[in-house]
């Protein structure tokens, strides 16, 4: 398997070390952990692209999840660490995607956007930046109203965790996660719709 080969060849970050530094208050540890996660995510997201385009909904998030699992496997982490790790990694995933979307937007607004001249030029999906950036902002607002619900969204959709894993990380029951998700999704959707209509 190609992924196994990549994993063994790539540098495995010292996740545990980084995590304990982070818990020990070393804010820099997050930024060190980030490239490691980023590179794994890249490899995996790349794989997502070869799936059949029409049916791959959820595939990227599943891959994100896989990235976390891989990272956590690569370094045996204590349970509490794992919870933290998920929380941190989901947040990082969100940041990576949002940063990228923001960069894309800047690039397109600036002079950097030019027509592809060589090779195929099929558009890769729809331009995602607006949606993702808007979602990011709305999620921040939700965080101010109800932090746990925002976390649920982050863990489940950016982190790719299942209901059960999310429940473990947040130490609440599974039905609570289900309900949280439903309300959070409805709330975010209605807010996004509102801001889109306002534009």
């Amino acid at each position: 398997m190609e992924t196994a080969r990549n994993a063994s060849r790539g540098k495995t970050p010292d996740v545990t070390g980084l995590l304990s530094s982070w818990r020990g208050g070393d804010a820099g540890a997050i930024s060190e952990l980030m490239p490691a996660v980023y590179s794994h995510l890249r490899q995996l997201a790349e794989r997502a692209m070869r799936g059949e385009r029409r049916d791959h909904t959820l595939q990227a998030t599943a891959l994100v999840h896989e990235a976390f699992m891989r990272l956590s496997e690569s370094a045996p982490i204590q349970w509490t660490d794992r919870r933290h790790f998920y929380a941190v990694a989901a947040g990082m995933m969100r940041r990576i995607l949002v940063d990228h979307a923001r960069a894309l937007r800047t690039e397109r607004r600036g002079a950097g956007w030019q027509k592809v001249q060589l090779g195929e030029s099929d558009p890769v999906g729809k331009p995602p930046e607006i949606d993702l950036l808007a979602l990011d902002e709305a999620l921040d607002r939700l965080h101010r109203v109800d932090a746990r619900k925002a976390q649920v969204v982050e863990l489940r959709f950016f982190g790719g965790l299942s209901v059960a894993e999310t429940a473990e990380v947040l130490a609440v029951s599974k039905p609570t996660i289900v309900l949280d998700t439903r309300l959070a999704r409805a709330w975010l959707f209605s807010r996004l719709e509102e801001s889109r209509d306002a534009q």
Binding site: G51, T61, L97, G119, E120, D122, R185, F189, S190
Partner: protein, 844 residues
């Protein structure tokens, strides 16, 4: 901390969300009656809840996809082989292309490097590349970007090193320079030359599209990626669009040919097609069809949708549409031919491409709007347009002898006549309502009856007749054909090609109607005219022979038909043109004749040849392959080889069913044959279902008195007998006999079959007196039609002898010709039921 307000929202939302819509209102009334703000917030959330769907997943997904797409950007500055990547030139679904430089001692060499995405079948690509690099690297043409090298990057991705072309995609180039239609066509000429050059070197591009066709600043077009598509995925050569994963990324469906999409063989004709799309797009700025939606929709559009003409004048339209034909064999035979036609057009000379797709399109259209299927007025107008075009086109054929201007006059007149023909009194009256194809044709036919007898009218008559025939409305077609024949006779004289063709059309029509006796002289006359006009060794004569042979065959004159088929096969041997179809027909007809003569073993051998030949040349699922299966099955059935017979009959039916409605008549035939076999296999219920379905269809198509109707009835008669319902069986056999007597010529061998069957049934209930005349008739017909030596004669005589013996008319029995049962056993073997019956009778 959570606000109280929010906690309340949370609680009420949770409660309300779990209730049905009806209960919700009630619940909300009770819960927030005095708090309209809360209520509106909850309702807003519930409304959002219903519509939010997968939006979170999709939003994150889109972000992740965008991220992965940008990864290649990170390669800049890295090395691939001896090259350093300088910048990215482009990015597609499966690959990214970089400008790269090689720092040599003396100079900087710039190349383009295409790096495939992860997920390609790396090792296979590398292997295929090794085997083909020689060919690809040797493609040396000024308009083809050279392929220098290829390999695998350190992280295992396939890459190709190509000549770097500093240019713009051809569509962009044309638009930026505001090229005219003629300039655009001229720009394509070197492209076509390049593709043709590659084809001669046995390399098919397979992925021609604007982004693979750059034009340099000096205006030289350069083709990229020759042969790469095949290296990347050889499955694409036969891949099915819907089932090949990744295909939407690998192959650009916009330019893919129907055979690429549907899984047919990819040949140079596929490049002709893609070039057609490309030219279409360059000239009109749009694709020949709109591709949206699912892969299945795209497949449908590419394979079935007839592209609209670009509307750039008849010549350009014809050139482009000829390249875009669905069937590879109906396109230009080569890219060179396409180029030549464009050159002819540019030079103002007449082009080769003709709209001979019109008849095809008209018949497709009519087939889609078969009986009873109403077509809207818009459809009607489309059809009228097709008919006009079809007629104008067929004028060319008829009027070869005319001068060009007369031809044009005539075309104009005919168009006007068609308008009259379909004159709609008040368009407002019809708008929005619907009309069936048949009503439209009837209207046209009624108008035509008023027209003068002149060649133009004959052309219109023929066109309408053909459309009627497409609908299976033979009765309506016959008077039109008869009138057009008489017009041609008057206009061109009796010994003209037009008359021969009209005769053949009329004959075929009469034969379809089962009116063999009146078809025969017509075919005979057509054949005589053709021999006179062309001599013996000519294809038209060959077809004439085949037609006449078939008619004699149908008339039951087997002895006269046999030598005609033989002559046909001899002519075919001599003229040896590529018309394999004719040979196939003749062989098939001879096989059928042998079957009818009762020479099943020889028939079987021939049918096996016919089946193989048709499967090879026409494919496993063609109409004619189905017929070969069906008839081989029948033959095997006759030989008593029921299991193998079943396989072939079933295969024939399957194919015919898949071929669609137009094959109604053949499907009924297959059902009837399979039903008759199932009776002998004891699968009576299924047999009955098939036989009844076939009977019903045949009655609808052919009326009561058609021999094919009788064939279904024979099956049902056998079925009833197998169920022990001898009386019903006898009644049906009686009806079969009456149909044969009414519809077949005198003393047709099929009448003998029916007489024998009926006689046997009558004997079975001891009605020997009644049986005798039937059996006598059977003997007599068989003797005269099949020859004394035929085992079928022996069989009939045995039956008659048995009858006479039972009547104690021993003298008469002894007066019958001597019987050699060996003939029966030699043909059928001693296990066959008919052999056993004969042996039993011999022993008595």
């Amino acid at each position: 901390m959570l606000s109280e307000h929010w906690e309340r929202i949370e609680k009420v939302f949770a409660e309300a969300a779990q209730r049905s819509a009806d209960e919700r209102t009630e619940y909300l009334d009770a819960e927030c009656g005095e708090d309209p703000e809360l209520r509106s917030e909850i309702e807003r959330l519930l409304h959002a809840d219903e519509r939010a769907g997968w939006f979170l997943e999709e939003t994150v997904e889109a972000g992740a996809a965008a991220l992965s797409g940008d990864i290649e950007q990170l390669r800049i500055g890295h090395r691939v082989g001896p090259y350093r990547l300088v910048r990215r030139l482009g990015r597609g679904g499966m690959s990214s292309v970089y400008l790269a430089e090689r720092d040599d001692e003396q100079f900087r060499k710039r190349v383009a490097i295409k790096i495939m995405r992860r997920g390609m079948d790396t090792e296979d690509i590398a292997r295929r590349f090794r085997s083909e690099r020689q060919i690809l690297a040797s493609l040396d043409h000024p308009n083809i970007a050279r392929l220098h090298d290829g390999g695998t990057t350190r992280d295992g991705l396939p890459f190709f090193v190509m000549e770097y072309i500093d240019g713009k995609a051809i569509d962009t180039y044309c638009n930026e320079h505001q090229l005219t239609v003629r300039q655009r066509l001229a720009l394509m000429l070197p492209v076509l030359a390049a593709v043709h050059y590659a084809h001669r070197n046995l390399v098919v591009h397979r992925d021609l599209k604007p982004s693979n066709l750059l034009v340099t600043a000096t205006g030289a077009p350069k083709l990229l990626d020759f042969g790469i598509a095949k290296l990347l995925n050889p499955e694409l050569t036969t891949g099915n669009l819907a089932s090949t994963r990744r295909v939407d990324q690998l192959l650009t469906p916009n330019y893919a040919s129907p055979e690429q999409v549907a899984g047919g063989a990819i040949t140079t004709a596929s490049d002709v097609y893609s070039l057609g799309v490309l030219i279409y797009e360059l000239l009109t700025g749009a694709l020949p069809y709109r591709l949206t939606g699912s892969l299945k929709d795209m497949e449908h559009a590419i394979c079935d949708q007839v592209p609209e003409a670009p509307g750039l004048g008849a010549d350009v339209d014809n050139i482009v549409l000829m390249a875009l034909r669905k069937e590879p064999s109906r396109r230009y035979g080569s890219v060179e031919q396409l180029a030549e036609d464009i050159e002819r057009y540019l030079a103002g000379r007449p082009i080769i491409a003709r709209r001979d797709t019109l008849r095809y399109r008209a018949s497709k259209f009519v087939q889609r709007h078969r009986l009873g299927v109403a077509t809207a007025v818009a459809g009607l107008l489309v059809m009228m347009g097709l008919i006009v075009a079809l007629i104008v086109q067929s004028m060319r054929v008829v009027n070869e002898r005319d001068r060009a201007e007369r031809e044009r006059d005539r075309a104009t007149r005919v168009s006007a006549m068609v308008k009259d023909m379909f004159e709609i009194a008040d368009p407002g009256e019809v708008r929005g309502s619907t009309i069936t194809a048949r009503e439209l044709l009837d209207r046209g036919a009624a108008q035509l009856a008023e027209f003068e007898d002149e060649p133009e009218t004959a052309i219109l008559l023929d066109t309408l007749a053909r459309l009627y025939e497409e609908l299976g409305l033979f009765v309506s077609s016959i008077p039109l054909r008869e009138r057009s024949l008489s017009i041609y006779r008057g206009a061109f004289g009796s010994q003209s090609a037009e008359v021969a063709r009209a005769l053949a059309n009329l004959g075929r029509l009469r034969a379809w109607r089962g009116d063999f006796a009146r078809a025969e002289p017509v075919f005979r006359e057509a054949l005589e005219i053709r021999r006179l006009l062309h001599g013996n060794d000519h294809r038209a004569v060959l077809w004439g022979i085949n037609n006449l042979g078939l008619i004699l065959h149908d008339l039951g004159d087997y002895r006269a038909a046999a030598p005609l088929y033989r002559e046909g096969l001899e002519i075919q041997q001599r003229i040896r043109d590529e018309d394999e179809a004719a040979e196939g027909f003749l062989l098939g007809n001879q096989a059928l004749l042998l079957y009818d003569l009762g020479e099943y073993q020889r028939a079987e051998g021939l049918y096996r040849q016919v089946l193989k030949r048709r499967t090879d040349s026409l494919g496993a699922r063609s109409e004619l392959t189905a017929a070969a299966h069906d008839e081989l099955g029948m033959t095997l059935h006759a030989r008593g080889l029921l299991d193998e017979a079943f396989e072939h009959l079933e295969a024939g039916l399957d194919i015919r069913k898949q071929l669609g409605e137009a094959q109604d008549r053949d499907v009924a035939r297959s059902r009837s044959n399979l039903g008759r076999l199932l009776v002998d296999r004891g699968e009576l219920d299924e047999a009955e279902r098939l036989l009844r379905a076939s009977l019903e269809r045949r009655l609808a198509l052919m009326g009561e008195d058609h021999p094919e109707v009788a064939a279904s009835l024979k099956g049902l008669a056998a079925l009833h007998l197998a169920r022990g319902e001898a009386q019903e069986s006898e009644r049906l056999h009686d009806r079969v006999l009456r149909i044969y007597e009414a519809s077949l010529p005198d003393r047709h061998p099929l009448i003998a079959e029916a007489e024998l069957k009926l006689g046997e049934l009558l004997m079975a209930r001891d009605a020997f007196e009644e049986a005798e005349p039937h059996l006598r008739q059977a003997v007599e017909i068989r003797q005269s039609r099949l020859g004394e030596e035929s085992w079928k004669v022996a069989e009939a005589i045995l039956a008659l002898r048995s009858c006479l013996t039972s009547l104690d008319r021993n003298e008469a029995a002894r007066g019958l010709p001597p019987i050699d049962a060996r003939a029966i056993i030699a043909e059928l073997g001693d296990e066959h039921q008919r052999s056993r019956q004969a042996l039993t009778r011999l022993e008595r």
